[in-house]
Amino acid sequence: MHPYLPHTKQDVKDMLKVIGVNSIEQLFDDIPESIRFQGELSLQDSLSELEVSAAISSLAAQNRGTDQLACFLGAGAYDHYIPSIVRHIAGRSEFYTAYTPYQPEVSQGSLQVIFEYQTMISELTGLPVANASHYDGATACAEAAFMAQSSTRRKNIIVSQTVNPQTRKVLKTYLKFKGLNLIEVAENNGSTDVEQMKAAIDRDTAAVIMQSPNFLGIIEDIAEIEQAVHAEKGLLILSVDPISLAILKSPGELGADIAVGEGQSLGNTLSFGGPYLGFIATTKKLMRKLPGRIAGQTVDANDKRGFVLTMQAREQHIRRARATSNITSNQALNALMAAAYLVTMGKQGLVEVASLCVKKAHYTARQIARLPGYSLLFDKPFFKEFAVQGKVEIPELNDKLLQADILGGYDLSQEYPQYPNSMLLCVTEKRTKAEIDKLVSEMEGAL
């Protein structure tokens, strides 16, 4: 017998008798013969736990990840410290084997976690209402664009080229099929070309999408763009790095109507690109346009505090074709990890992480800038990522770094051909001085 299949021969016999048929095959008599699958699936037969473990372990061993390499690669996915307790809490099967909390009396754990997560996302972003999470930062941004379209009844979304290219690709896909226009505004020397952006904004602009720190690492000066888009009654969507919000002005303070971002940095492993979580926060005015689940506080029959999913009139299972979004599953377990991370790091810890990122990134940048043959590509304020240009081919440089157990930077020429021989380096709180100095000396050696 298979360990996941509990039926004894006697069970099957007894159950068939109750049903009133002679064989399990008879239960499939309603499937027309012509579409019955003939033969067997070309998969191997079932394997034991020992065999599967051996096979998968050997595949895992063929990978070399950030557990073995000093990671200076960011570009949208980040190697931050994850406290031990995060994995233990997310490993509670009462959390991970539950479904969406449709029956609140037996789901108070999940619901309260969502409520606490929403509270902390609201606190970070400086906006009053957050949803329970989205698939990832890129899809959260696309849904924010839909919110803007629905709220302004306009069809043009303007996005800066300093927004993560992955996010722009997803935006392009989502908007194209919905029949919205995506207008890209060029970057200029590492940040958004403000004049071009202002010129692009008009009364057909549903929203401007900015990212800060932007994909190139630079902290954008949002003020003029915020004024320009609001003057035309469009919305400002700001994509942010949640770690940076410990020390950088919040989207709320900057006048954003919707804040979105990739939440992976908050206690989620890199996991080759997923599962991550996207966060969305907005103003009270726009909250009914939010996609996805939202938890709210209420009381039970005995006036005791409890939590439920609320504002469900927005959602697909109620409103069907007129829902704000089709999303059902969010990334609840990833949001739990983010919540556990934020609780563990707490008020001081997140500031400490953000400050360490700034200091170590700036230290690294200075050391590299001193090397003959390399220079910083931009002379603008940055958070934990910065771009360097060198008299080297980036793929070759990265090959050499890899031989020295270093995961090098992101080759910018892939998405920004105007910047050849340039790479984006990321330095988180995890990188030690020894690792940084080694990176610098290997880069010097590669010249």
Binding site: D29, A77, E116, V129, A138, N334, H362
Partner: protein, 485 residues
């Protein structure tokens, strides 16, 4: 056990901390000096300040207020709450997977790419599709992706005017919502007296504006759409495509394949059929498979073999583009792959056989006590229509809440919409006969209680951390975050 009713914010005490970081080992000015003041936040976000034990205990006590598959039977219709094997979690948590950056050089992630490659092929084999993209993050995003492919295909064929997607009235709410998100118009058709697609209704709406039909088979009533071959012929004849909502694939493994039924596009719910956990509402994973003529439209990238190496290929010119960052919910893909190895081809067929056996057994035993609107052989799930009009106005909601007192998670209720007072029950194959009998006996007992002791149902549940919650108040006096008052 103590009763716990604290928010983490209520435990917070200034200067307490649950973390310790190494001292800064580089000589550098403070962040506030390195960055222009105008960018800096004046007040740090008011996150909680607790000790490490406070944090652990808080979340552990919260987990105790949750019901999961590991806690007990969870027969939520259309959600396939089967056992989530522990080996899946162990292997997917290996640092060789969790520590991989998505933009690493391909030569450093060959093991990961191999899993994706193999999984693409296995999923294609299971559904009879030509190729699979692993990128969509959930079933609903799989639907969205499928509809985008339909649109891209028609546009390429010079049929961009096609604007209608046909959906049966028994469909999941996500179907019409996904249709709207792709700029299509949803056209709903009524089911026939047998609970399946009404061919006359279908014929009446099919025309040269039809872009496609979305269908799940077996449908949400747990009934196999026996006319599927004719349905496929009709839709294809008028130039439309057929989309298969994979929510109910647990009934079909190794028995019948959407590709052989005539479907052109399929989405899979790895978190249903292939045992990856639901996570309390995600992360899921919703790969999409297509027939030959649609391969070039799939979202990119996918994994191919080139010169004996696994590589990510983004070269399809007609691709709809990316629907998500990177390559899909990789951690979930690993879990599904582990499950597929554990079950094997032979095991998968047995999965569907036993899921259907369990479902029919429950249906037979319960139909004498609850209304059964469609009394045919069912597949992996079935739908009861409550106990009907009764003296004490006991509703399906009351029955569901009372089930909690008996130690069970209630079934899906009030869905599908075409059944009055619906109780949608999906036992899955991983539950044994004793569990099913216990649940059936509880439902029968509740049906008696509805007559003899109705108050017990109306005030249920009685043994949960909270009693019935005021959802109207929650929606009226919106409290969506904690505020220190």
């Amino acid at each position: 056990m103590i009763e716990y009713n604290k928010l983490i914010f209520e435990l917070s005490q200034p200067t307490r901390q649950a973390y310790m970081l190494p001292p800064c080992d580089v000589q550098m000015e403070e962040a506030a000096e390195l960055l222009p003041e105008k960018f800096l936040r004046q007040q740090a976000p008011a996150l909680p300040e607790v000790s490490e034990l406070d944090a652990v205990r808080h979340f552990t006590l919260l987990s105790n207020k949750n019901y999961g598959i590991d806690t007990g039977f969870y027969p939520l219709g259309s959600c396939t709450m089967k056992y989530n094997p522990k080996i899946n979690e162990n292997l997917a948590s290996m640092p060789g997977f969790t520590s991989l950056h998505p933009l690493q050089p391909e030569e450093t992630v060959q093991g990961a790419l191999k899993i994706m490659y193999e999984l693409q092929n296995i999923l294609a084999e299971i559904s009879g599709m030509a190729r699979v993209s692993l990128q969509p993050a959930a079933g609903s995003q799989g639907e969205l992706t499928g509809l985008m492919i339909i649109k891209a295909y028609h546009q390429q064929c010079g049929q961009g005017h096609r604007s209608k997607i046909i959906i049966p009235d028994s469909a999941h709410g996500t179907n019409p919502a996904s249709v709207s998100m792709t700029g299509y118009q949803a056209v709903e058709i009524k089911s026939n007296a047998q609970g399946t697609v009404d061919l006359a209704e279908l014929k009446a709406v099919l025309d040269s504006d039809t872009a496609g039909l979305m269908l799940t088979n077996p449908n949400t009533l747990g009934l196999f759409e026996q006319d599927i071959v004719e349905i496929a012929r009709l839709v294809h004849e008028c130039g439309g495509l057929l989309y298969y909502d994979g929510a109910n694939m647990n009934a079909n493994l190794g028995i019948t394949r959407p590709g052989d039924m005539g479907f052109d596009i399929v989405h899979y719910n790895l978190h249903k059929t292939f045992s990856t956990p639901h996570g309390g509402g995600g992360p899921g994973s919703g790969p999409v498979g297509v027939v030959d003529k649609l391969v070039e439209f799939l979202p990119m990238p996918w994994v191919v073999i080139k010169d004996g190496k696994y590589v990510l290929d983004s070269s399809a010119a007609q691709s709809i583009g990316s629907v998500k960052s990177f390559y899909g919910n990789f951690g979930i893909l690993v879990r599904a792959y582990v499950y597929l190895l554990t079950m094997g081809g032979n095991g998968l067929k047995r999965v569907s056989e036993l899921a259907v056996l369990n479902s029919n057994y429950m249906k037979e035993r319960l139909k004498k006590h609850y209304r059964l609107p469609f009394d045919h052989v069912c597949k992996h799930e079935f739908v009861l229509a409550g106990i009907g009009p009764n003296e004490h106005d006991i509703t399906t909601l009351d029955i569901a809440k009372r089930l909690i007192d008996y130690g069970y998670h209630p079934p899906t209720i009030y869905f599908p919409l075409i059944v009055d007072s619906a109780l949608m029950i999906e036992p899955t194959e991983t539950e044994n006969k004793e569990t099913l009998d216990g649940f059936i006996d509880a439902l029968i007992a509740i049906a008696h209680e509805a007559i003899e002791d109705p108050e017990k149902l109306k005030t249920a549940p009685h043994c949960t951390p909270v009693s019935r919650l005021d959802e109207v108040k929650a929606a009226r006096d919106l409290v969506l975050k904690y505020t220190n008052s």
